[in-house]
C-alpha cells in the first residue's frame, strides 16, 4: 500500500514536471519572473535604497527569494483547481491508486520547482555581486528552511483551490493577499524607515522573519531567533491549513 502510494506520487509528480515541457510559459512563472524581479530591484531601487546595487543585493536577495517563494505556492492551488475543473481528477479517481497521491504528487513537484527557483536566484545573485559569507551547511539549511516553509504555506493555496470554482480565482485571491503581505515587510527595505504602524506589522510579518532567517544563514548575523520564529510560522500554517485542506479535499473529491 505504501510503496504503491510512493510510486503513484512519483508518477504524478513526474507528470506535473513534464507539463513544463509543453507549456514553456510555466517557465516564465518560476524562472523568468524571479530573474526579472531580481534585476529590477537591484538596479532600479538598489542605488536609491543603499549606496550601491551590490550592497542592496546583500540585503534584498533573501527577500526577493522569499517573495518569489510565497507567490510560487499559488501554483499548487492553481494546478489542483485546473485538474479538478478539467476532469483530470475524475479520471485519476477512477483508477485504483492511493487516494491522496494526486495531491501529494502535485506538492512534491512544486517543491522541486521551488528548489529550482531558489537555486536560480541564488546563482544569479552571486553573479550580480551577492556574497555567501557562511558555509555549505548553512546554504543547505537555507534551502531546507525555505522549502519547508513553502510546503507549509502551499496548504493555504490547496485550501483556496478546494473552495473556489476556477483556477483564476486562486490566482486572484493569492495576489490580493500576497502583494501587501510581501511588500509590507522587511523583504526589500529595512522596516525602520516605515511609519510606526506599518513597522509593527512588518516586524511580525512572516515574510520579514523568513527573509531575516535566510539573511542570517547566508550572510552571517542572528540566526537562532528568526529561524525558530520561521519554523513556528511554518508549523502554524501546517497545523491550520493542512487539516482544513484535507477535509475540503475529501468533501470536494
Amino acid at each position: 500500500m505504501t510503496t504503491m502510494a510512493l510510486r503513484n506520487t512519483a508518477t504524478l509528480a513526474w507528470r506535473t514536471l513534464v507539463q513544463i515541457k509543453h507549456n514553456p510559459f510555466e517557465l516564465f512563472d518560476f524562472s523568468v519572473q524571479p530573474i526579472m524581479f531580481l534585476l529590477l530591484f537591484t538596479y532600479v531601487f538598489g542605488g536609491a535604497i543603499a549606496d550601491s546595487p551590490g550592497e542592496y543585493l546583500t540585503y534584498a536577495l533573501p527577500g526577493i527569494i522569499v517573495q518569489n517563494l510565497l507567490f510560487a505556492t499559488l501554483n499548487t492551488g492553481v494546478g489542483l483547481n485546473t485538474d479538478i475543473s478539467k476532469g483530470v481528477f475524475d479520471r485519476l479517481r477512477s483508477l485504483p491508486i492511493a487516494r491522496f497521491s494526486p495531491l501529494a504528487g502535485r506538492i512534491v513537484a512544486d517543491v522541486i520547482k521551488q528548489a529550482w527557483a531558489i537555486a536560480l536566484l541564488l546563482v544569479l545573485g552571486i553573479v550580480l555581486g551577492f556574497r555567501i559569507e557562511t558555509g555549505p551547511a548553512e546554504v543547505l539549511a537555507t534551502f531546507a528552511l525555505l522549502l519547508g516553509f513553502a510546503f507549509a504555506v502551499s496548504w493555504m493555496s490547496v485550501l483556496v483551490a478546494m473552495l473556489v470554482s476556477e483556477p483564476e480565482k486562486v490566482q486572484i485571491f493569492g495576489f490580493v493577499l500576497l502583494f501587501p503581505i510581501t511588500f509590507a515587510s522587511g523583504a526589500f527595505v529595512d522596516p525602520d524607515t516605515m511609519p510606526g504602524w506599518l513597522r509593527s506589522f512588518a516586524d511580525v510579518n512572516p515574510t520579514s522573519i523568513l527573509a531575516d532567517a535566510a539573511r542570517g544563514l547566508l550572510s552571517g548575523g542572528p540566526v537562532a531567533g528568526p529561524v525558530t520564529q520561521s519554523l513556528l510560522w511554518a508549523a502554524g500554517f501546517l497545523v491550520i491549513f493542512a487539516p482544513l485542506s484535507v477535509r475540503a479535499f475529501r468533501r470536494r473529491i
Binding site: 507528470r15 478539467k86 483508477l95 491508486i97
Partner: protein, 321 residues
C-alpha cells in the same frame, strides 16, 4: 430470462453491475430517485434519457466518484461505497467531457495511466504506442492533447480508459460531438471490446446508438427508470405499427383516406399528400392493398413500419427529449 442470482461468498456475481434504489440529491435537485440497474457480464446496457435525467450521476456513482445518498450498488460483486478500490480495479471510465491532461502529449497521457496502474516503464510505453495506433493517433502522439480536435481528444480519452484492459467500461455519451465517421469507429471499437468479453455501460442521447450497440436499454427521466427492455421490446411498447400511404393522384386522397380508415386501429392522419394511421392486425397491409385495388385506387408509396426508438423515447418521456 435471467437465472436466479448465484450467491458466492456473499457477493452477487450474476450481474457485472447491480444497483438497487440509488438516490442522489444535489441540494434541491434529486438527480437519482431510486434507480435500479442490472447488467449481465459481457453485455451492453444503454442508459437513455434526456438532458438532466441523471445519466452522468448514475455513472459517477457506479464509478465510485460520488457516494449515493441511499441505495446500494455492486460492481463485479464489490460494493461501490465500501470497496471502491476493488471496483476501480475493474472499471474503465470515459466521462462525458474528455478528461485528458491537455498539457501532456498523447503518449504521456497514456504513459501516466499505465504507470499509475503499475505497469513497468517499458510495458507502459508499449501499451501507449499500441493504443495510439489502434485509435489512429500515432501521428499526434507527440502533440499536446490541448491542441487535439474534439474527436481526437475523445479518442485519446477512450484510449486512456482502456490502458488497464478493464473488464467493465463506462462510456458517458462517447460519441457526442463526433462526426459520423468517428462515431462509426467508436461503435466498432465498442463492438470489438464486447466481443472480447467486456461489459459496457453506455449512456447516450442518440437512440440509434443504443439500438446499434445495446442489448438492453434502460430509459430514465427525472432520476427514475421509466422503461426497461431490449430495443425490440421497447418498440413493441408503443404497440401499433404505422401504415403510410401516398396516393398516386391527389384527387383520390379522400377515397384513400377512407380505405385506410377501414383497417386503422386509431385516428387517421393526413399530412399534405400522405395518409398515416396506426394498425395492429398482422393482415392489415394485405387487406389494405386488396381494398385499394378493388376500388381502383393507385398509390405512389405504401409502407408499414415499426416505430423508431425516437418515437418510443418521446412517448415514454412525455414528448420532452
Amino acid at each position: 430470462m435471467s437465472a436466479p442470482p448465484a450467491i458466492v461468498s456473499g457477493m452477487d456475481t450474476t450481474y457485472a453491475i447491480h444497483a438497487e434504489g440509488l438516490v442522489k440529491r444535489f441540494g434541491d435537485t434529486t438527480a437519482l430517485d431510486g434507480v435500479d440497474l442490472a447488467v449481465r457480464p459481457g453485455t451492453v446496457l444503454g442508459l437513455l434519457g434526456p438532458n438532466g435525467a441523471g445519466k452522468t450521476t448514475a455513472v459517477r456513482v457506479l464509478a465510485t466518484l460520488i457516494r449515493p445518498d441511499a441505495g446500494h450498488a455492486e460492481v463485479g460483486g464489490f460494493d461501490v461505497v465500501r470497496q471502491p478500490h476493488q471496483v476501480r480495479e475493474l472499471i474503465g471510465l470515459t466521462g462525458q467531457y474528455a478528461s485528458v491532461d491537455e498539457t501532456l502529449n498523447g503518449t504521456e497521457n497514456l504513459l501516466m495511466i499505465g504507470r499509475l496502474l503499475g505497469l513497468s516503464r517499458r510495458a507502459a510505453r508499449a501499451r501507449a504506442a499500441e493504443l495510439l495506433e489502434r485509435f489512429d493517433l500515432t501521428d499526434a502522439a507527440n502533440r499536446a492533447a490541448g491542441k487535439y480536435s474534439g474527436g481526437m481528444r475523445r479518442r485519446l480519452d477512450l484510449a486512456a480508459s482502456l490502458v488497464g484492459d478493464p473488464r467493465l467500461l463506462y462510456l458517458d455519451e462517447p460519441t457526442t460531438g463526433l462526426d459520423p465517421r468517428s462515431r462509426n469507429e467508436v461503435w466498432d471499437i465498442v463492438r470489438r471490446l464486447v466481443a472480447d468479453g467486456t461489459t459496457v455501460l453506455l449512456t447516450t442521447q442518440y437512440l440509434d446508438e443504443a439500438d446499434q450497440l445495446a442489448g438492453e436499454i434502460v430509459v430514465i427521466d427525472h432520476g427514475r427508470v421509466i422503461a426497461t427492455g431490449t430495443p425490440a421490446q421497447l418498440k413493441a411498447r408503443t404497440g401499433a405499427q404505422t401504415v403510410t400511404v401516398r396516393p398516386a393522384f391527389g384527387d383520390e386522397l379522400d377515397r384513400v383516406r377512407e380505405a385506410v380508415a377501414r383497417v386503422a386501429t386509431g385516428p387517421v392522419d393526413v399530412a399534405g399528400e400522405v395518409v398515416t394511421a396506426p394498425v395492429s392486425d398482422p393482415g392489415a397491409l394485405a387487406k389494405l392493398v386488396r381494398d385499394l385495388d378493388e376500388h381502383g385506387l393507385s398509390v405512389a408509396e405504401l409502407a408499414l413500419r415499426s416505430p423508431s426508438l425516437d418515437e418510443v423515447f418521446l412517448t415514454l418521456t412525455g414528448g420532452r427529449a
